[in-house]
């Protein structure tokens, strides 16, 4: 049974992505008691699935290494993974949260030796790679996962695989009797950092994500380019494994669109510029990149990066929202549309099309456990009515990593202000 000590001076952080981790650590390193609740079996959220960050083209795992070290060493921080906040009542300074913990079937005795994975047979689509690869029924979610503990897929519980895994473990780390638990804890303030999810590309019908294998999303492309990803960093297309040297990036795929998301997701322009560099790095002179955009939003100092990428002869920018994609008999996606700068029609064949999908709040408008101010797009607005609940990162708006971390640091202070008020009242 999981036991967590928490008081009205505890800060509850919901979501262990880059925003949640940042908020939790800043508060804990200021001496506050923090409980961090993450739905996935590991911390880091979506940034763990990114290959590089714009505009530095550095690696998310670098910062993650530091953040994980910080969490491992900090005595003020309690981490609950596979956990969800299913209830929240009370008011600033006195909340009660109900937390539901899904069974991991692996306890803290796990040494991440990997024997269980070797023992089991069943394979499943690997969610970490957006289904681009398979993983075993006993698995480490990804190489740097923290906690560095294996997970049993609930689907193998009750099957021979589960017993094999248990038998293979020398450390009594596998507990097939684990059941879902619910626990209640008190807290004075809540930082809501539930983040975002990629917009469902299949809904963007004219682009045929559901019909053409060589139309993929930007998040999938990120896995494709990762040297430690499912293709070992080879940029190949799903239909036939052919190298994808000519690639179209379609901006606002689901964003700024009344049929999908009304808001601008802010990151997609920079993300596509970044991903264009993957293609240019991989194929040099043979690379051909077309970016179809409405407005290129490389805001503030990011303009430097836009200029750097634009300087390359092999990348073109077309001011156009493509009207549709059709596939020719070889499976090449042909992008149709009109270049609006002077009305030029095009029907451009590519090896691969990458849809720069928009950011959607991970929590649906009607799914919040407690009433908070939510705008039309489902993001949380800062408001006094929210009491001791503070959004951090992409729960508040479509933000890039830097702005999320910045925003989360501020959120930590807002939570501390509440906690300190409580403390002053209590002494």
């Amino acid at each position: 049974m999981t036991a967590v000590i928490a008081t009205n001076e505890t800060i509850l952080v919901v979501g262990g992505g880059i925003s949640g981790m940042t908020a939790a650590l800043e508060a804990a390193e200021t001496g506050k008691q923090v409980v961090l609740v993450e739905q996935r079996p590991y911390l880091g959220g979506r940034v763990t699935q990114l290959y590089k960050y714009f505009p530095k083209l550095c690696f998310p795992t670098c910062g993650l290494e530091i953040n994980q070290r910080r969490t491992k060493q900090n005595p003020n921080l309690t981490i609950l993974t596979l956990a969800e906040v299913t209830g929240l009542t009370g008011s600033a300074g006195a909340y009660t949260a109900t937390i539901t913990l899904a069974p991991r079937y692996v306890n803290e005795r796990c040494t991440a030796c990997g024997d269980c994975a070797t023992a089991v047979e069943a394979e499943f689509a690997d969610e970490y790679n957006y289904g681009l690869s398979k993983r075993k029924g006993a698995y480490l979610p990804y190489r740097m996962a923290h906690p560095a503990r294996y997970v049993l897929d609930p689907a193998i519980i009750g099957t021979a695989d589960a017993e094999k895994a248990k038998a293979a473990c020398k450390y009594d780390a596998i507990d097939l009797e684990m059941r879902e638990e619910t626990l209640e804890l008190r807290c004075g303030a809540v930082i809501w950092a539930t983040g975002w999810q990629p917009y469902d590309a299949a809904k963007i019908q004219p682009y045929g994500y559901d019909r053409f294998p060589n139309v993929i999303t930007s998040v999938e492309f990120e896995r494709l380019a990762d040297v430690n990803g499912p293709t070992g960093g080879k940029i190949v297309r799903p239909s036939d494994g052919k190298e994808a040297k000519k690639i179209a990036f379609i901006q606002c795929a689901g964003s700024r669109d009344r049929n999908h998301l009304l808001h601008c997701s802010r990151i997609c322009c920079m993300a596509s510029l970044k991903q264009a560099t993957y293609v240019l790095d991989a194929f040099a002179e043979q690379a051909e990149v077309n970016v179809y955009y409405i407005d290129l939003r490389s805001i503030d100092r990011f303009e430097d990066f836009y200029n750097k990428v634009r300087a390359n002869q092999n990348i073109k920018f077309i001011k156009s929202k493509p009207s549709s994609i059709v596939a020719d008999k070889d499976g090449n996606p042909i992008v149709h549309g009109v270049d609006t700068e002077g009305y030029n029609r095009y029907a451009e064949p590519h090896d691969l099309v990458v849809l720069a999908v928009g950011m959607e709040p991970a929590v649906k408008k009607d799914a919040f456990p407690i009433s908070v101010q939510i705008n039309r797009e489902g993001f949380i607005e800062a408001a006094p009515e929210n009491g001791g609940i503070f959004a951090a990162g992409c729960a508040a708006d479509a933000l890039d990593v830097n702005r999320s971390a910045q925003h989360a640091t501020g959120a930590a202070l807002r939570a501390i202000q509440v906690i300190n008020r409580v403390a002053r009242a209590e002494v």
Binding site: Q205, P206, G208, S324, V326
Partner: protein, 299 residues
């Protein structure tokens, strides 16, 4: 069992001796088999179609449909209006919605209707016959009625524009609707789900005013159907049917092609599959004979 009652809006082209009179015949046969009773809206008028815009301003065009809805509400109260023609369905439904959202226009329309002692309540659902088949009857029931499966036939389901956009059939996508394919399979024939021109425009009314431009598009549709090995094309829209069928000779002349692709209505297919005669299915109405279908009808 009691027949389903609908207030029926056949439209100009379905009239006796008009371009899609064969549609009407086959549709009626189909409805008999499905226990559907169509009660024609008395003295209905033309919907104005999409092409009516040059002469007709907003209100006059909306009033055309308003009159039909008013007549239906008066004579076939409580019955949904059903149209077989895509344009009729679209104009009527569009008018109904525009008038619902714009009280001022609705008031004007009623003032106009008053001239003939009519009033528009505008509370009547407006359906395309395909909606009746899919939503009210259902594929399963249709399957039970099949006496002569259309085995061995490969059929391209050509949806076209106006039965698909902007309203379309609930649950279907604008870019790749699949209800015709599903219907084809239900009737025992083979569908061509990858038929990439299934929602390509045929030129609509511009087939008359801009024949060259339209026929270029029609050629594309025929080509794709042919390349996908279709024996025939099926469509829910009279304009699509006519455009795709009757210009083939001219297209062959212009492009040196050799199309002889039958284009039929879903209702024709169903009438045959339900075991009715070529006559009842209006196969006689094919400018390009659908021999393979006729053969099945002959069995």
């Amino acid at each position: 069992m009691a027949k389903r009652q609908y207030s029926f809006y056949p439209g100009c082209s379905s009239q006796k001796g008009a371009s899609s009179s064969n549609y009407l015949i086959s549709a009626q046969t189909m409805c008999e088999e499905l226990d559907i009773q169509l009660n024609e809206i008395p003295d209905w008028n033309c919907c104005g179609a999409s092409i009516g815009y040059a002469g007709g301003g907003e209100l006059p065009r909306l009033t055309l449909s308003a009159r039909n809805i008013a007549l239906s509400e008066q004579h076939n109260p409580g019955q949904s209006i059903v149209a077989t023609c895509a344009a009729c369905w679209l104009s009527t439904r569009e008018a109904a919605e525009r008038l619902q959202h714009n009280p001022a226009l609705a008031k004007d329309a009623n003032t106009a209707l008053a001239e003939a002692g009519l009033t528009l309540k505008n509370q009547t659902p407006i359906k395309h016959m395909v909606e009746v088949l899919i939503q009210d009857i259902g594929y399963d029931t249709i399957k039970t009625k099949v006496k002569r499966p259309l085995a061995g036939l490969k059929i391209a389901g050509y949806v076209g524009c106006q039965t698909n956009r902007p309203f379309g059939i609930a649950g279907e996508s604008f870019e790749n609707p699949q209800y015709l394919d599903r219907l084809i399979e239900t009737l025992g024939a083979d569908s061509i789900p990858q038929f990439e021109k299934k929602v390509q425009c045929c030129g609509g009314a511009l087939a008359f005013s801009e024949p060259a431009k339209s026929q270029e598009m029609i050629k594309g549709i025929l080509e794709s159907a042919h390349d996908n090995g279709a024996d025939l094309i099926v469509t829910p829209c009279p304009v699509c049917q006519m455009n795709a069928e009757v210009y083939q000779e001219q297209i062959n002349a212009t492009y040196g092609t050799n199309f002889k692709m039958p284009v039929v209505y879903y209702s024709t297919l169903m009438a045959i599959a339900f075991g009715r005669s070529a006559q009842d299915a209006a196969l006689t109405g094919q400018v390009i004979p659908a021999e393979k279908l006729a053969a099945i009808a002959g069995k």
